[in-house]
Structure formats: C-alpha cells, structure tokens
C-alpha cells in the first residue's frame, strides 16, 4: 500500500462523515414531522441507484478520475460545462455547509463571535489538512467516525429515560404531499450530495472496489441519521419541528443524576468534526472540478484560493437564518438536476460510446483513443 493511498475503510468513514455532516445537527427534520424516519428510509432506498451511477462513472475509464471520465464521456466542451456546473454546485454547497455550522456555533455557544470568524477558523484548518493531502483527511475521518458512533450511541442510551414512544404516533398518517416533500428533501440533502464524494474515490487504493465501499458508507450514514432522527423525535416530540437544531436540544435534555448533565457538548463536537470533514471533501471536489475544467495539473495550488472563495460566499448566500433555512428547503429544486440528471446523462452517453467502440474496435483492429471523442 502506498502511503498516500486511502484504504477502503477510511473511504467509507469519509463518506459517512460527509453525509452525516450538517444533517446530524439539524436532525434532518422535514415537513413530514414524526414520519421523517420514513422519508429517511425511502430516500436511502432511492439513493442506491445513484451510488451505482457514480461508481460506474468512476469505472468508465481506467484511472478512476471522476471529472476526467465525465469529460471523456461527454466530450470536451459538453464535459467541461458539466464539470463547471458540478463545481459551482460544490462551491455553493460548501458555503452553505460552512455557513450552517458556523451559524450553529454562533447561535448556540458563541453569540458574540462573528460568524465569519468561526467560518475562517474552520476553513484554515480544512485548508491546512487538505494541503497535507487528501489521505490525511481520510485518516482523520476514520478516527472521527469512532467518536461519532460513540457519541450517538451514548446520547441514545442516556436519552432513553426522556423518550416517549407516543411521539412517533400517529404513524404514517401525514398527508402524502408532505411525505413526498420530506422524501425529496432528504433525498437531495444529504443523500444526493454524494456526487461531491465521488471525485475522492480516485485516491482510493486500487484493490478496493468502488461500489461496495461507497454503498457501505452511505448505508452506515443512513443508520446514524435514522438513529439520530428517531432519538430527536422520541425525546422532543412537537419541539423537534420548531427548533433549529433538534439534535442539540434533544441531547441538552439528558439529565442523569446531578453530575451527568449538559452532554450537548458532545453534539457540538461531533457536528464540528463531521462538518469539518464535509467541508474538506467539498473543498477537494471543488478544487478537482476546477482543476479539470481549467486544465491544471495539480489541485494543491488552488486549495487556498478556492477556500477563500468559499469563505467569501459564506456571508453572501443569505442575510439571515430564515433565509438560510428557506434556501436549504428549496435547494433541492436547484440541486437535483446537478445531483441526478447530469450524472445519469453522462453515464448513459459514456456507456453508449463504449458499446459503440467495442463494436467498432474489433472490426477495424485499432485501439480506440481515450480522449478523442465527439
């Protein structure tokens, strides 16, 4: 194993933390209220084909380079446009994620600290880590996943006595429209954000298969999100739908004895860790996309400028929290084409071309050139 390779386990952990990222703290509650768990399950099932699509794009050509494969499959001009679109989406999402958890820290613990300073501090650490190499981020994720699992488990166990099973009732009697909205919103955020995870797989060690690794990561993230969501609903009930950060509130209620209270710090910590990994992955994907679109050889020199660009977007994306939550609620409509339509399109074209070439190649007896295309 090369020292800069990322092992399958590390990659899985990174995918988990990426997906769990900001959704863990907001609790992923949707319009479906107590039926949100159903939306999470449904979205998980829906996302499996998407995982397959991304893995196939990565496997389209040797080298496992996501953006390069897109350009190869869709042709130079169209592929570049697709890359730019994905990069733009990554940039916006990066800013939203950073904004989201800077906002959280600002509101919950650091009322007097400006949001941008929190974002800057996090960004500096993200840039430093990425400049050490993507594999460093992956190794950190693997360690952080342990902390995450421990903290979620501990909070669920401790919150047991505050739980009320009747909060899940009535089961699945929400209006279908609400359920659908819920499914779409959890499908889009976080599940379909995996498009930004895909470029990372280029750095994974060659003897690990992409699809199983990817799917395992997504599934594990699903388990954590589901557990967290059910915990929040059971503890908070109605409150779950009105508070901004339901995981934080749910955990703050835990009270065991005089001394074992106030464990919501655990949530703050896990949020920061997951958000850190998420920002790192998004920043990496943004840089990769930009690199491919602009034709740079290496992504490392553009980490700092892209990071600063994301930072400038943080205060610009919304002027206040309600606008931010409005944006997060409506982001799916803008994001879904990029998240679903483009990759599917690319894959169809790429597969078609490959078939065509396979049919042609034996007859003409020449090796098809990889980069030459429509």
């Amino acid at each position: 194993m090369n020292r800069t390779d990322i092992s399958a386990k590390q990659m899985e952990a990174t995918v988990v933390l990426f997906l769990v990222g900001s959704s863990l703290v907001t609790g992923g509650s949707t319009r479906a209220k107590q039926d949100t768990w159903f939306c999470i399950v449904a979205a998980m099932i829906l996302v499996i084909p998407m995982v397959w699509v991304h893995s196939e794009i990565l496997n389209l050509y040797p080298g496992r380079n996501y953006f390069e494969n897109i350009i190869c499959a869709a042709g130079r001009p169209a592929g570049t446009v697709i890359c730019v679109l994905i990069t733009l989406y990554a940039l916006v999402l990066g800013a939203v994620v950073l904004r989201n958890f800077s906002e959280f820290i600002h509101l919950v613990n650091m009322v007097e600290t400006p949001i941008i300073m929190i974002a800057v501090s996090v960004m500096v650490v993200v840039i430093y880590t990425l400049s050490n190499g993507l594999y460093v981020l992956a190794r950190i994720s693997k360690l952080m996943l342990l902390l995450l699992v421990v903290s979620v488990t501990v909070t669920i166990v401790l919150a047991y006595q505050n739980m009320d099973a009747s909060h899940l009732k009535p089961v699945l009697q929400s209006r279908p429209a609400d359920l659908l909205r819920g499914i779409v919103s959890s499908f889009s955020t976080p599940y379909c954000e995996i498009i930004l995870c895909a470029p990372m797989f280029g750095a994974m060690s060659r003897n690990a298969k992409i699809f199983p690794t990817f799917l395992k990561g997504v599934f594990f993230a699903f388990l954590i999100l589901l557990a967290a969501n059910i915990r929040n609903t059971l503890v908070l009930g109605y409150l779950d739908t009105t508070v901004n950060y339901s995981s934080y509130e749910a955990v703050s209620v835990i009270q065991i004895g005089e001394f074992f209270t106030r464990v919501e710090v655990l949530i703050g910590i896990t949020l920061l860790l997951a958000g850190f990994v998420k920002s790192g992955v998004i920043l990496f994907s943004t840089c990769e996309g930009l690199r491919k679109a602009a034709g740079y050889r290496d992504y490392e020199p553009i980490v700092v400028p892209v990071g600063v660009l994301t930072l400038t977007a943080v205060p610009l994306i919304s002027s206040n929290v309600s606008e931010l939550s409005w944006m997060i609620e409506h982001l799916p409509f803008y994001a879904l084409p990029v998240q679903v339509l483009l990759p599917v399109l690319v894959l169809v074209i790429g597969k078609g071309k490959k078939k065509l070439k396979q049919r042609k190649a034996p007859r003409q007896g020449q090796i098809p050139k990889k980069t030459k295309s429509a």
Binding site: V108, Y128, S166, P170, S252, V253, P301, V304
Partner: protein, 384 residues
C-alpha cells in the same frame, strides 16, 4: 508548490491570530456574571407587564472560607427579556441563566398565559429546556423565593431537588420540564398540569411545600388539582414513579399503606359515533408498607383481600378525579384526545372541533390490578 500552499495557510493563520487577539469575543470570566438559580414571575407594578424576582448566587468571602448566599434582584419590565436586561441598571453583572433550574409563576400570570415565557426560554440560548415550571399557590410568586432555604444555601436548587423526590417517593406533584410543557401545549388533545407550590408555616419559620398541580387549558391556568388527586392524574398519564397508596375496607379509609413499586397504565379510547369512552387499565406492583389499625389486616383479611381493597381504591380514585376535572375545569389533562389522535388521525379530525363537549360527558372505565410483591420484613402470623 506545496510550499506555497503551506505559506499561504500560515499567512491566513497569522491574520486569524491578529484578528482574534484584538478580542476573544466570547471570553467571559465567571465573576462577570451573576448566576441565576431560579426566577419568580409576577404581575408587574406601575403599569409594567411583568415583575420578576431573580434568585442569584452571591459569594461572600473568598478562598476556602467563601460562602454562598442567595441574592434576590427584583425588576419590572414589559417583556421577559426587557426585565432581564433591566437588572443591569442596578447591577454590574449580567444575569446568566444557564444554571437556572426553576421558574415559578404567580397564579395571575399563569391565568394570563405562559406561551411567551416558553417562547423566550426556547429561543434564547442561555436558559435550558430542562427548567422546571411551577405555579405558586400564594398570591405572588416572589414570596416563595423570599423563604429561607432549609437545606443547602439556594432555595431554587432545594425546590428543584425536592421536586425530584416528591415525584419519586410521595407522588403528590409531578415535575414538568419546559420542553415537556412545550410539547404538551402543542400536542392535540391534551392539556398541561404544572406542579403547584405553597408556603408553609412552621415553628422555626417558613418553608415551602408542593401541593398538587395547576390545571391549564391551552396555555392559561384555569384550576387546581388537589394533592391527592394529582396521584390519580399521574396514574392515568402513566407517570407514576413511586409514591404511596392508602387503602382500607371502605373508600377513603387509611388502615393500610402500600408503597408503589411499579405502575403501568394503558388507556384505550373507544369511539362510537359521537360518544367516546375510555378504557383505563392500571397494573400496579406494590409492597405492603404499613398497617395502621388495631387488627392485623394482613393476617385477618388476607393478602388477596388487601389487593382487592387497593384495586377498589385506585378505581374509585381515578374515576372521581376524572369526574371532578370534567365538572370543574373541563380540560383534557388526561390526554384522552391525544390517544385518539395518535391511533386514528382521521377520527380525531372529525371529533376535535367538538372535543370540548365530548370530553365533558365521556365515560371512563377503570380496571385496576394491584399485586402485593412483598410485606416488608414482617410477615403474616402463622397459625391464624
């Protein structure tokens, strides 16, 4: 190239440090705060809406000989937050609410509605959702905080601690934390009961005690629940953690005292057209704690009979409490409506507009099953 990245990261860091050294925004020393342990909310004087008494923790002395004393601040204001900040007119320390454990409401305020208080606590990041809400039986809530604490140095913490004990071992009042209250207020078909507190005169001075609960309808208080009734209310809500059950051959007699070990309640609403009834099943495990009569009840009446007495007592108690609430307050504090809502949403949507009337006339059917697990360290006399 890697070097450039590192150097730029370094420069960014330096800038960050320069910025941050100009002010560590949230850096606050403990002594710049005045830690609030509990608040009491009354109707405001001189035209103000609220009059709030803050019980703060005050230090006197220092080092090993430091003593903790309560310090009462009182302030008027038109909103909660306005009142909180108004204290800065007379004190150099900002009030700090994170360790505030109780909020006592005066009846007047409770009658006017508690939504705004809950909103503030939920919205502000300082006060915690685990704050206990109480209603004072005295005319002003501030009076309660003026009582000298018996155990410990801070009355609010004493009250919060007592509330835990009274819920677990006596069963006369049940603590309701703010997040639970908020949940109940926003759930359909259930009303809130907050524990009530009153002053008590003793030879050595005044002290405070819990006495039953305050019944709400919506967010307004409309009546009181007696100490004894509260126990049966808890049973219907399946909130009994412990407490005593006094029973005897006739309802209301107190020859035998049983301690509740475990209690489980199932409420099944039965809907048929416009009439609703509720089936309440109580399963209780108790231990035989005391007999206060001339004859040896255990030996002479037999354990089965005592269980029967207890079942009768529970059934009678619950039925009379439900009736009392139906007649006096007409507020669904038992959550019969929410049971319908949770099991059959459509049915509830049909019934809910008229729930007010349906609840008033609904019938309850109580079935209790009491099992005596042990008789303590004594046993029935042999040979009788």
């Amino acid at each position: 190239m890697k070097k450039t990245v590192k150097i730029s990261a370094l420069i960014l860091e330096v800038i960050l440090i320069l910025f941050t050294f100009s002010g560590c925004w949230n850096y606050h020393e403990l002594e710049t705060y005045s830690i609030v342990s509990g608040i009491a909310i009354d109707k405001g004087l001189n035209g103000y809406k609220y009059h709030i008494t803050f019980e703060c923790i005050k230090m006197s002395g220092g080092g090993a000989g430091a003593e903790i004393e309560p310090l009462l601040l009182e302030e008027d204001g038109n909103t909660f937050f306005d009142t909180v900040r108004s204290t800065l007119r007379e004190s150099d320390k900002k009030l700090y609410f994170n360790h505030c454990k109780i909020a006592i409401l005066s009846p007047e305020i409770a009658k006017a509605g508690i939504k705004s208080l809950i909103d503030w606590v939920q919205r502000d990041s300082e006060p915690r959702l685990t704050m206990d809400l109480l209603v004072s039986r005295e005319e002003t809530a501030g009076d309660i905080l003026r009582v000298k604490p018996q155990s410990g140095q801070i009355l609010s913490y004493q009250i919060a601690g007592t509330l835990d004990e009274v819920t677990g071992y006596y069963g006369s009042s049940t603590g309701v934390q703010l997040y639970e209250a908020s949940d109940i207020l926003n759930t359909e078909g259930i009303s809130l009961v907050l524990p009530a507190i009153e002053k008590k005169k003793e030879a050595s001075g005044e002290t405070v005690q819990f006495s039953g609960g305050a019944i709400f309808k919506g967010d307004r208080q409309i009546g009181w629940l007696a100490s004894n009734s509260n126990k049966y209310y808890d049973m219907v809500r399946d909130k009994v953690k412990g407490g005593l059950l006094m029973t005897g051959p006739t309802p209301g007699s107190t020859q035998i005292c049983l301690e509740i070990r475990k209690s489980e309640t199932n409420v099944t609403p039965v809907v048929s057209g416009q009439t609703v009834s509720a089936q309440i099943q109580v399963q209780m495990k108790v231990s035989y704690a005391e007999q206060d009569s001339e004859k040896d009840e255990l030996t002479q009446t037999g354990i089965d009979k005592v269980e029967e007495y207890a079942e009768k007592t529970v059934e009678y108690g619950i039925e009379s409490v439900v009736k009392e609430v139906q007649q006096n307050d007409n507020s669904d504090i038992f959550g019969f409506g929410s049971h319908i809502y949770q099991n059959n949403r459509k049915e509830w949507e049909r019934l809910s507009p008229k729930w007010h009337e349906i609840f008033k006339t609904m019938k309850v059917n109580v079935e209790a099953e009491v099992e005596i697990e042990n008789t303590g360290l004594s046993r029935a006399k042999a040979g009788d």
